[in-house]
């Protein structure tokens, strides 16, 4: 098997140009998909039998939660690749992920709370999914805090990479233990963060929204990645072309 393509992925100038070229191919379809899903979810989909129009929050909450997990996974995989193959570009990918993931985790918590109030009657319940999201936010903040606390950029990269890998091993454990804990104390009247029965007209906008946000993530990642690569590149020649003087 010819592994040149993989090793070329480690070449910063190559990745930089690739990122620049690919961004619009992800950004525009993402926008189109999200707008389509918005129309489908807000206008076309019928109200839910139990939750009425309130269920439409799912079209924002589910993608936010999906983003928070997907981005963390990407970050951890990039970190692992960076540690194993010593690729600076992979470190740049991991660094790019953190702010995106943290902000969407925040959005997932806010939308979860807003969804919960009309459903549960309180602004917060220690629902297993929301509690896991909160812990995920702490994991992101810890990662970003660790990065910020170490001055040497290479050491910051590698230390936070270890943390990211340790974190991803923990995510399923944390999720399992929180679900276990919650099930012990489940009062029968408390409704879990509502899973409305999704018929097809309600389901397709959700799937389109998830896909749209995934493409959106790649687009934003590619933009951040370029900046992170520039920060890690000392050799002048290829930067000069790209950045202008």
């Amino acid at each position: 098997m010819n592994w040149t393509w993989f090793h070329r992925l480690g070449s910063p100038p190559h990745i930089y140009r690739l990122a620049q070229q690919l961004t619009p191919w992800f950004a525009w379809p993402a926008a189109a998909l999200i707008l389509t899903a918005l129309y489908g979810g807000l206008v076309l989909a019928p109200p839910d039998y139990q939750q009425g129009d309130g269920f439409r929050i799912i079209y924002m909450h589910a993608p936010a939660a999906w983003m928070s997990l997907m981005v963390y996974t990407t970050m951890a995989v990039a970190a692992a690749v960076a540690l194993i193959w010593r690729m600076k570009v992979a470190h740049a990918v991991a660094a790019s992920c953190a702010p995106i993931g943290a902000s969407f985790t925040f959005a997932a918590l806010v939308t979860g709370s807003l969804w919960g109030e009309p459903m549960w009657g309180t602004w917060w319940e220690w629902d297993p999914r929301l509690t896991s999201e909160l812990i995920l936010l702490f994991l992101y903040l810890g990662y970003m805090g660790l990065r910020g606390a170490i001055e040497d950029p290479q050491r910051a990269d590698r230390t936070s990479a270890v943390l990211a890998v340790v974190g991803i091993v923990n995510v399923p454990i944390i999720h399992y233990s929180v679900t276990w804990w919650n099930s012990l104390h489940q009062a029968p009247s408390v409704m879990r963060l509502g899973k409305p029965q999704l018929s097809l007209p309600m389901l397709w906008p959700l799937l389109v929204m998830l896909l749209g946000f995934t493409l959106y993530f790649v687009a934003v990642l590619l933009v951040r990645l370029r900046g992170e690569i520039l920060l890690r590149e000392r050799s002048a020649s290829w930067i000069r072309e790209v950045v202008g003087t």
Binding site: I34, L42, V43, P47, G52, D53, G54, R56, I57, M60, H61, P63, A64, P99, I100, S103, F104, F106, A107, V110, T111, L114, W115, E117, P118, F213, Y216, V220, V223, R224, R226, G227, E228, L230, L231, E233, A236, I239, R240, V243, G244, T245
Partner: protein, 53 residues
């Protein structure tokens, strides 16, 4: 149209949810572009300093 904005009485929860999530999405785009611009400016400064020395 009025009914649409009312969202069956859930408007106070639904629209802020959309605002927050879409807002985070927009902010991330702006934030990413800003950080790229800053990195490019820093690179330009480094190159200028290097070229002059």
């Amino acid at each position: 149209m009025r009914e649409f904005f009312d969202m069956g009485g859930y408007a106070a929860f639904l629209w802020p949810s959309y605002a927050v999530t879409l807002g985070v999405a927009v902010i991330n785009v702006i934030w990413a572009r800003r950080s790229l611009a800053r990195a490019m400016a820093a690179a330009r400064r480094r190159l200028a300093a290097g070229a002059d020395s």
